[in-house]
């Protein structure tokens, strides 16, 4: 039984047995790269679930609203997604008993942009994972082609440390072994090495692109405030004008608000329509926190103490000349 | 180049009166001396930079052009600024008039029934005074008006002094028993049911809190009023006032241009999203 079939069977069984009154998973789309979040209340709908190397959406955030109208929600979760679950648990935004977690081990997801750059977009009907390869189903005579998966993985998957779910109630399939292929902090160090004015110009150029669509915030499991300051209008903390200063303001506040709470899932950057490397900012903050307060990874253990959520006498005081 | 429709004209707040505990009345004149040319139940956008602008019903009748008058309840940032920062003599911006205004032709020769709640009397007052100033054009006039408490009744000099002298029937109510109050006690829709006006030859015009409007509409229909005989005015968030910024739409209609005045017959044909 392949993963799609397992997902469908699991979902149908959960809904039939009333173990949960909602299942959130991924559906199929018109295009090979689409994998829209899918919400099921009825076992009959389970046939719409589809596993593919594009199940990138972290479904955890939907719990906030869906649990207002459901007793218990079953959720399909990848390793990175479970850090989002832990985030919500630690922030007391969901109750563990209210979720049923079906873990999906993940050896890394495909990047449409990389496929496109290699000329595979038009005429590509389906992408499937097979061991270390992606099998591309193509329109026309050739039919199928096998390509090395590593070349077409999302950057964030190359940097992934947790291919297996950290918290789950049951697991679909075997745990996967997947070495981290790339140091996630490498980019941070590279940007950091630039002279100050160059670094400023770099961020100016990137952030000037921001259109303030708030996709980064809305997709982020750490951005779970009941009322976000960017939505307040009396007073309005950040102006709405299309100005670099406001864009910087927005992006800096956003990243500081998730300092020590960012689960490194990369969804903000993935959701950004303007291709702003938001994870470089988030990881710079993770790096600084590590230097200041020691090694800490958010979303691993919901019972731990986040560095900015506590005070220790030996914590560095004030702002140093860093 | 034609005039920019979202550029305000300069105006002065000449006089401010405390109307109810949370409502003030602002008497405004234009600095350019040109007329504003509004119709009853039209609106104007008042500007108080740097706080912004907001849309208000013009509560004065076009037949009394000395001041443009606004009754403002404190609910948001602009209204708060108007209440606490703006004083007599303060200059502000104004643009408009906006909206379709009241279809005067429809009511000529008819009996009129006005039903208002709280600050919802503000837009109606423009039309009520208009009708009193052109009294011979109309047959009977009846006004049913209520608020939470006697204190919360708007335009007290109108409802207690001026209007009782007019050729009209005035019915007042408050929601709860209050010392010294001898008129009806109960919600406006309840009072309406109690008074049970007959629908023949009558046009009913209502404005108030959304929940009151809903029950008044039901009440009127129960009394036999046809949807064509019932007219109300809607309020939605607006920014441009000229049908472009998008937010005040109900389906394909823009309340700032196609409204705010709609008959129940029109509303029944619109999507229920207001």
């Amino acid at each position: 039984m392949n993963l799609t079939e397992k997902m469908r069977q699991e979902a149908a069984q959960i809904l039939e047995s009333k173990e949960a009154d909602l299942v959130i998973g991924w559906g199929g789309g018109e295009y090979y790269w689409q994998s829209p979040p899918l919400f099921l209340e009825d076992a009959a709908g389970a046939a719409e679930l589809a596993f593919s190397p594009f199940i990138v959406n972290n479904l955890a955030k939907y719990l906030l609203e869906e649990l207002e109208s459901h007793e218990k929600a079953a959720l399909f979760v990848k390793g990175c997604d479970t850090r989002g679950i832990n985030r919500l648990l630690q922030d007391h935004r969901i109750q563990r008993e209210a979720v049923l977690l079906i873990g999906v081990p993940c050896a890394g997801l495909a990047d449409r942009e990389k496929l496109k750059a290699a000329g595979y977009d038009a005429g590509l009907l389906q992408v499937e994972r097979q061991g270390d390869s992606f099998i591309l189903t193509l329109e026309g005579e050739e039919g199928a082609r096998e390509v090395p998966a590593g070349e077409f993985l999302l950057d964030k998957c190359l940097e992934c440390r947790y291919p297996n779910p950290l918290v789950y109630d049951r697991l679909l399939g075997e745990e996967v072994q997947k070495p981290r292929e790339r140091d996630p902090m490498a980019r941070v160090r590279e940007v950091q090495k630039k002279p100050v004015d160059e670094k400023y110009a770099y961020w100016q150029e990137k952030l000037s692109r921001c259109i303030r669509c708030y996709a980064c915030r809305n997709v982020c499991p750490a951005c779970n405030c009941r009322e976000c300051i960017f939505d307040q209008n009396a007073p309005r903390w950040v102006g709405k004008a299309n100005q670099l200063s406001e864009k910087q303001n927005y992006n800096i506040i956003r990243s500081f608000h998730i300092a020590g709470r960012c689960i490194d899932c990369g969804e903000c950057q993935r959701a950004c329509p303007m291709d702003i490397p938001l994870m470089e900012i988030n990881r710079k903050i993770i790096q600084d926190l590590t230097e200041l307060y020691g090694e800490y990874e958010a979303g691993i253990d919901p019972t731990d103490v986040p560095p900015l959520g506590t005070y220790r006498a030996e914590d560095p005081a004030g702002f140093s000349e860093r | 180049m034609t005039a920019n429709p979202i550029l305000p004209r300069r105006a002065v707040v000449e006089k401010i009166l405390q109307d109810t505990p949370d409502t003030k009345r602002f008497f405004v004149t234009l600095k350019d001396g040109e007329p504003f040319n509004h119709k009853p139940l039209q609106c104007a956008m008042l500007s108080v930079p740097p706080v912004g602008e907001a849309l208000f019903s013009i509560t004065s009748s076009p037949t009394r052009p000395e001041y443009l008058e606004f009754a403002v309840k404190e609910v948001g940032t602009v209204t708060k600024h108007l209440h606490y920062e703006v004083q007599e003599g303060t200059e502000i911006g104004i643009r408009g008039p906006y909206g379709n205004g009241f279809p005067i032709d429809v009511i000529r020769g008819k009996d009129l029934l006005f039903i208002g709640g709280g600050i919802g009397l503000a837009p109606l007052r423009s039309l009520i005074n208009y009708c009193f100033d052109t009294r011979k054009d109309y047959s009977k006039i009846q006004i049913i008006y209520g608020a939470r408490t006697p204190e919360d009744l708007s335009f007290k000099e109108e409802i207690f002094e001026n209007w009782p002298k007019e050729d009209a029937r005035l019915n007042l109510t408050v929601d709860v028993e209050s010392p010294g109050w001898e008129e009806f006690v109960g919600f406006v829709p309840t009072y309406l049911e109690h008074l049970a006006p007959t629908p023949e030859g009558v046009i009913a015009v209502t404005c108030g809190p959304p929940i009151m409007i809903r029950f008044v509409l039901q009440g009127l229909e129960k009394l036999g009023f046809q949807p064509e005989q019932i007219i109300t005015t809607l309020e939605l968030k607006m920014k441009c006032g000229v049908g472009k910024c998008g937010r005040c739409n109900i389906g394909e209609k823009y309340v700032c241009q196609d409204g705010p005045v709609f008959s129940l017959a029109e509303l029944n044909g619109m999507i229920p999203e207001f």
Binding site: R212, A271, M274 | I6, P49, K239, K244, N249
Partner: protein, 347 residues
Amino acid sequence: MKKIDKSKLEDLWGRLAAEQDLFLPVQQDSVVNFALWQEGSRVNLEAVNSLLPPKDLLFPQSEKIFSYKRREGELSFEEAPGSGPQVIFGIRPCDVRSIELLDPVFFKEPADTFYKNRREQTTLVSIGCLEPDTTCFCTAFGIQPLDAEGADVMLYDMGTAYLVSPRTEKGEKLAEEMGELLEEAAGAEEEGLQQQQEAAASAQEHGLDLDGVFEKLNDMFDHCIWEKFYRRCLACGTCTYLCPTCHCFDIQDDGSPEEGQRFRCWDSCMYEDYTHMGHGHNPRPGRRERVRNRFMHKLNYFPKDHDGVYHCVGCGRCVQKCPVNLDIMQVIEEIGKEGVGGEGHDR
């Protein structure tokens, strides 16, 4: 017909830019957007669609309306100055149509003077699309990928040169500015155009049929179809900001009591704040109502007022960039499947 050799484009741009603001699709690291041309700009005429639509050039994301001053109690307003002539070069036919769809909104009395002023001074030089992107569906709206009806000048890509076809008075004037950079095209090239035309029109594979969608939606306000689509929506503004026809805006002040400015900026009907009123009421309180409004506006409300013309041009930007794949093509398809008055109504 005249043509211009691609090797002469840099000369042409230099010449046009000397007379007016010239905007072209420019590569800025990973993205292509319309930007003011300067010598050395990395012009990219191959990208089918710019990431952001060129609507920003007629309806800027934020735009000053006036500045105000309060001196000794006297409040004065100074209207923002108008802008000068501009050429949008390399705009695709879908985006040309999008401007034709913004026109009735901003021209409707009382006309928006900022938009009108810019629009009247804008010359559109459109390049036809030989190869669509996989998410292109402009032909569903009757747009010819190789021919923009609303363009002032139409360019046809013939490999090493563009055929140049001025369409309007403004276009003729621009062709005059091109002067000796234009040369007479050979008859064979013009013949090639016909074939290109046919190939381009059939290259899109969307299979969408808009017939009857507008009418069906008249009765689908309460339909369960919205249930199916809204739940995944993140309520971000990506689809609206990347949409070439979305035109909602907010008006805001920026400054002190003494002086400052009022500006307008793009707003999004996906945001809760958009319709949230001062006293707390919101006619579209949830994603369900907001998602429905967006699609209804594109596919029903606007057409109702504009002879059945849809407020979408099939550029595919929202399809590409929606982080949760809320795909308007699927929405259209689902609507198409519904019989009027059939199952699913009035849920």
